[in-house]
């Protein structure tokens, strides 16, 4: 069976419907999935390339920055946070905040 051929049964799903629609939970479009994947691969290549250039202290910050962007892409699109209730995202941010509290204060 082909991954490109859509055998979508016309389930009551519209592409941009919010979480409160009856049985209508938003299904991520295939274009979005593929583009995010492509971006992630590209960013991985960039991470490795940047690490070979000597930026001194900047290296670790550059690597972390790119990791944060990749993480953001995975979270927003693969984990569906872009279309979810913002509270779920708040949980993530609070958890990250407490980790940073732990790391920085120590």
């Amino acid at each position: 069976m082909s991954l490109t051929h859509s055998n979508d049964i016309p389930a009551p799903v519209a592409d941009d419907v919010g979480p409160s629609a009856p049985h209508g939970v938003h299904a991520v479009p295939r274009r979005v999935l593929a583009s995010v994947w492509g971006l992630l691969i590209l960013l991985t290549v960039i991470t490795v390339a940047v690490s070979k250039v000597d930026l001194g202290q900047g290296n670790i910050w550059a690597a972390l920055l790119i990791a944060v962007i990749k993480g953001g892409l995975v979270t927003m699109y693969f984990m569906h946070l872009r279309w979810d209730s913002p509270f779920n995202g708040l949980i993530l941010i609070v958890a990250l905040f407490f980790v940073s509290l732990f790391v920085n204060t120590r």
């Binding site: 069976m1 070979k52 699109y77 984990m79 949980i91």
Partner: protein, 310 residues
């Protein structure tokens, strides 16, 4: 955040939806609840790994050259990058699988789950290659590491002894305790005379052995000392072990999560084969997907922090 009405249906009333639990009013409420619960659990996983990232950041901050040496000498950027690409792709197939479940595409869902499992297996396979390379080079975890002071053939050198200083002020000994039994109140305490508190038999295995310092303990033959190691300061040489602690603990815990992930994805696969999921009910697929993406997320941060230290 509640969307429930105050009407609580009587328990005996037949629900047409076999997946709706009796304490939820609508399937949406149940789904929202389940997702929220899963996100909270993911938050706890982030906090748990956060502790390890904290330990890593402290030791790297205190001994940057140690981490540079160990990462360059012993970690393969190539394998790390390939692992990253594999995990990202498995995340894609997992997200695609969730989409397939939402759209009632059973065969596609099965394909995606199988591909995800293959990705996970590939990741573990590469990790096995890396770990066995570490074993061969005698830089395994803990006391099997040639840089660890507990290793019999260790060539970790302890930092130089601190010079002792005389106290400026004679502090009177306490009224009780071992020092009180000294004959002369002004005689400094002779530590070697204090008997160990526990002469009660304890397991020998946990007695901490002090590192051997004689030079004839240095490894001979193929275990040559790495040139870059010799260039580290004495204190830094002593701390090389901490890099490997961080490396094995972080990748090890992550690896355990990958194995658990494979287990739950297999369970979802079995349930898919049993026709448990449809566009009306795909919550478990969604939740397992979230877990798998978290595993990927953690690796996205582990990879540059461990492998790309130059």
């Amino acid at each position: 955040m509640s969307t429930a009405s105050t009407e609580i249906s009587a328990h005996g009333q037949a629900h047409y939806d076999p997946h709706l639990a009796h304490h939820f009013d609508t399937p949406e409420q149940q789904f929202t609840s389940a997702k929220l619960g899963m996100w909270i659990f993911l938050g706890t996983e982030i906090l748990m790994f956060g502790g390890l990232f904290c330990a890593y950041s402290i030791y790297r901050h205190n001994h940057p050259l140690v981490f540079k040496f160990a990462a360059e000498a012993y970690l393969s950027t190539k394998w790390g990058a390939i692992n990253t690409l594999i995990l990202i792709t498995s995340s894609l197939t997992m997200a695609w699988g969730v989409r397939a479940a939402q759209l009632n595409q059973k065969k596609l869902l099965i394909t995606c789950l199988v591909l995800t499992l293959m990705g996970a297996a590939g990741f573990l396979g590469i990790k096995t290659i890396e770990y066995s390379a570490k074993w061969d080079e005698h830089v395994w975890v803990g006391s099997w590491n040639k840089y660890n002071g507990d290793n019999d053939a260790s060539y970790a050198t302890p930092p130089p002894e601190q010079p002792t200083t005389q106290p400026m002020v004679q502090i009177p000994p306490p009224a009780y305790g071992p020092a009180a039994i000294a004959d002369d109140a002004n005689t400094p305490l002779d530590v070697s005379q204090i008997k160990p508190r526990y002469s009660y038999p304890l397991s020998q295995s946990i007695q901490h052995q002090p590192p051997k310092r004689e030079s004839d303990q240095r490894p001979t033959g193929e275990q040559q000392v790495d040139e870059r190691y010799k260039q580290l300061s004495a204190s830094d040489q002593w701390h090389v072990n901490t890099f490997f602690s961080c490396y094995f603990l972080m990748t090890g815990l992550h690896g355990i999560h990958v194995v658990v992930g494979m287990g739950v994805i297999s369970w979802i696969l079995m349930r898919t084969l049993r026709n448990d999921f449809s566009s009306e009910y795909f919550t478990p697929v969604d939740l397992v997907g979230l877990y798998w993406h978290l595993v990927d997320l953690i690796w996205i941060f582990l990879f540059p922090l461990l492998y790309l230290i130059h």
